[in-house]
Subunit: 144 residues, 4 copies
C-alpha cells in the first residue's frame, strides 16, 4: 500500500479580487488561507479534520508557520496548493508548495506545525495521541 | 436619566494597509468589521456583548445588513464609527455612521439587524427576550 | 438570442474553516466575498470585469450593498452563489441568491450597486457609459 | 544618539470578535495583520512606509514570514505588538513580539523579510537601495 499518497493533497484555487493589495498582487497574509484549504483537504483524507479532532478530545492549534514567497500572485491566476504530512510522532508538521496551476512555476513554499492539546485539561502533548497514529494507519508508540 | 447616551458608542479606527484593494481604497467588504467594532463597544456599554449574550442563553445572529458607501477611504485615514441602537422590541437594530475623524465628512452609513435565537431550541424569537430590556434599563413587555 | 443567460452566473464555493466564527457558522461579513466571486464570474461573461473596467477608463466602486441572512452556513457546506444583473442604465445593480448546493435551501439574498466613476476626472456618472451597453450587447442611449 | 529607539515601534490592539475562530481564539492567519500594523508604525517613524516606498521607485514585497504562536489570544484581550528592524543592508528584516498588554505574557514572536524591487525594471535588489540607508540616518555602502 502506498501510504504516501494518503498523506498528500492538492487543491486548486482561483485568486479572487479581494485578496489583492494596492500593488495588484495577493497580500502576503492571505496565503495562510490557501495553506489551510489544502491542509483541511489533506486532513479529510485521513478522516481527522477539525470536526474529528474535536470529537477525539483534542485541539490541534497551529504553533508555528513559516512562509517563503517566491513569486507574486495576480488576479484570476489559478494556483495548485500541495500539502504533505512530514512529521507526526510528536507534532503534526505539514509542508506546502504553491505552484501556478498552468505553468507549474513555484509561487510559495512553507510549513505549519500543530500540537495536540487535550480539550479537558488544556495540557499540551509532547507525544502525539494514539488517535493520530490510528488515522494515519500506523502502530502508535507505546507511550502515545 | 439620559438613556440615549447609553445606547450610543463611538470608536476611532486608523485604516490599515491590508484593508486596501488595487484601487488604493478600502475594499467594501471590510466595512462590516468597522461596524462590528463599534457595535461591540456599544453592546459592552449595556453589558450585553457576545459573551453576555451567550451566558444569557441566546445567540443574536445578524440577519440583515445594509451599507451605503458615500466616500472612499484611503490608507492611514482615521475614521470615527458611531453606532446607535434604534430598535429593540422585536429585534436589535443598530444604525452606523462612519465619518472622517478630522474633517467630519460622512464616509458610510448603514445598519444591522439581529434577532434572538434560543441556544437550546435554536428557535428564533419574534419578541426580544426579557434580558435585552433589562440590559437597556427598560420594563420588558408582558410577553417578552 | 437568450440575453438573460449572459447576465447570470453561478459559482460553487466550499465553506472553509477560516470563515467560521465562535458560533461555528460563517461570520456575516464574509458573505461579501462570496457575492464578489459570483459577481466577477458574471462580469467576466460580458468581458467587463475589473481589468476591462480599468482599461475602459472607468472605476465601478460598490456604493451600496444589502444582505439578508436567512439560514446559517456551516463548515464544509457547499453553496451555489447566483448573480444576475438587474439594472444597468444609470448604475449597475446585481442581485445575489446563495443556496445550499445540495438541498437548494436559500441561505442568503442581497444586492450590490456600482456606479461608473471616470478615472481621470474622478467624476461620477449618472448615466452608465456607452462601454457598459456595448458589453451587454445593447444600443447605448443617446446621452450615454 | 540612541538610534535603537528610532527603529522600534509598539502598537496596542484590542482583539475584535471577527478575528476569532470556532475554538474562540484568534485564528492564526490573523496575526499577519497585527504584525503589519506594528511594521507600518515603525516604517512611519523613519518616514519610509508604503507611500514613501512607492515614491522612491521601489516596492518592498514580503518574501519571508515566520511565526511562533506561544499562547492563544481571546476576545477583548489587548495586545502590545513590538516591531524592530534587525537587518537592512541587503534586505529589510523586522522582528516582532506580541505580548499581553496587561500581564506582559509573551503571545507570539516572529519576523518578516522584505526585499527592494525596482518598480520600473521589476528587478530585485541584492543590496538595499541608498534611500533606505538615508531614511535610517546611515551612510549607504558605496555599492548601494
Amino acid at each position: 500500500m502506498n501510504t504516501q499518497r494518503r498523506w498528500q493533497a492538492e487543491v486548486d484555487i482561483l485568486i479572487p479580487f479581494h485578496d489583492l493589495d494596492p500593488m495588484e498582487v495577493v497580500w502576503h497574509g492571505n496565503y495562510a488561507r490557501y495553506f489551510e484549504i489544502a491542509r483541511c483537504a489533506l486532513l479529510q483524507q485521513i478522516d481527522y479534520d477539525y470536526p474529528q479532532m474535536r470529537d477525539s478530545g483534542y485541539m490541534w492549534p497551529v504553533v508555528e508557520m513559516s512562509q517563503h514567497f517566491v513569486r507574486p500572485l495576480r488576479y484570476q491566476q489559478t494556483i495548485r496548493v500541495a500539502a504533505e504530512i512530514i512529521e507526526w510522532e510528536n507534532r503534526l508538521k505539514i509542508r506546502y508548495v504553491i505552484r501556478d496551476a498552468t505553468t507549474g512555476d513555484r509561487i510559495t513554499r512553507g510549513y505549519t506545525v500543530q500540537v495536540a492539546v487535550h480539550a479537558g485539561t488544556m495540557e499540551m502533548r509532547f507525544i502525539s495521541p494514539a488517535i493520530l497514529f490510528e488515522k494515519l494507519g500506523l502502530e502508535p508508540p507505546c507511550d502515545a
